[in-house]
Symmetry: C2
Subunit: 118 residues, 2 copies
C-alpha cells in the first residue's frame, strides 16, 4: 500500500562518484544528506546504499577531490561535512563530459533504427 512503488534502478558502476561530486557543487554536505539529495533529485529513481556511499566518500577524499570536517547538522547531530576541492571540480567536469559522451554513444547504438540500411 505504499503510495509510490518507485521502481528503483541500480547504479551503474562508476556513476556514484559523479553523482556525489555533482551534489557537492551546490555546497558542502554530509553523507546522509548527499544520499537523500540524490534520491530526491532523481525522483526516487536512484537510491544510494550506505555500503556504497561511505566507501565512495572515503575514496573521493583519498583522491583529494573532496575534503571533510566534522560539524553539526541541521538536526543537531554530529556529521562529517564534505566540500569540493579545486581538484574535485576538475574531476567533476571530466567525469561529467565522460558521462555525456557515453550516454550519447549508447543513444547512437540504441537509436530507433528500423532503417538499418540507408
Amino acid at each position: 500500500m505504499s503510495p509510490k512503488p518507485p521502481t528503483r534502478v541500480e547504479l551503474l558502476q562508476g556513476t556514484l562518484d559523479l553523482l556525489i561530486l555533482r551534489t557537492l557543487l551546490a555546497g558542502p554536505s554530509h553523507g546522509h544528506a548527499i544520499a537523500k539529495h540524490i534520491q530526491r533529485t532523481s525522483e526516487e529513481l536512484l537510491q544510494v546504499e550506505t555500503g556504497s556511499l561511505y566507501p565512495a566518500l572515503h575514496r573521493l577524499e583519498a583522491q583529494g577531490w573532496i575534503a571533510a570536517s566534522w560539524e553539526l547538522s541541521d538536526k543537531g547531530k554530529r556529521a562529517k561535512y564534505y566540500r569540493l576541492t579545486p581538484r574535485g571540480r576538475k574531476q567533476l567536469a571530466s567525469e561529467q563530459s565522460k558521462w555525456q559522451a557515453f550516454a550519447r554513444a549508447m543513444g547512437l547504438v540504441l537509436k530507433p533504427a528500423d532503417q538499418e540500411a540507408e
Copy 2:
C-alpha cells in the same frame, strides 16, 4: 598522427548485454561482427574487448536470450552466429527501458542547476 584520436569511453558495467541484444535485433551476427558494429555505430566511442565480448555472449546464451549456430562468415571463415530468441526480445525491451530510466535519472541530478533554490 592518427586521423582521429577517438577518445574511447569505458563501458559502464551492465551495458554490454544491452548493446549486444540491440545489435542482434537487426539480424543474426557473430561475435567479431557484433563488436565491430557497436564500435562503428557509436562513432568509435565504444570499443568492446574480446575479454568482455565472449564471456558476455556465453552468458546471454546461458540465459536463453540468444541462440547460436556455426556458419560461414562473409569472409568465408567459420563463425558462431547468434540470434535473438523470443525471451531475448523481452529482455532487450526490459533493459532498454531500464537504461532510459537510468539515463533520465542521471540527467535530473546533473542538470545545469545554478538555481539550486527555487
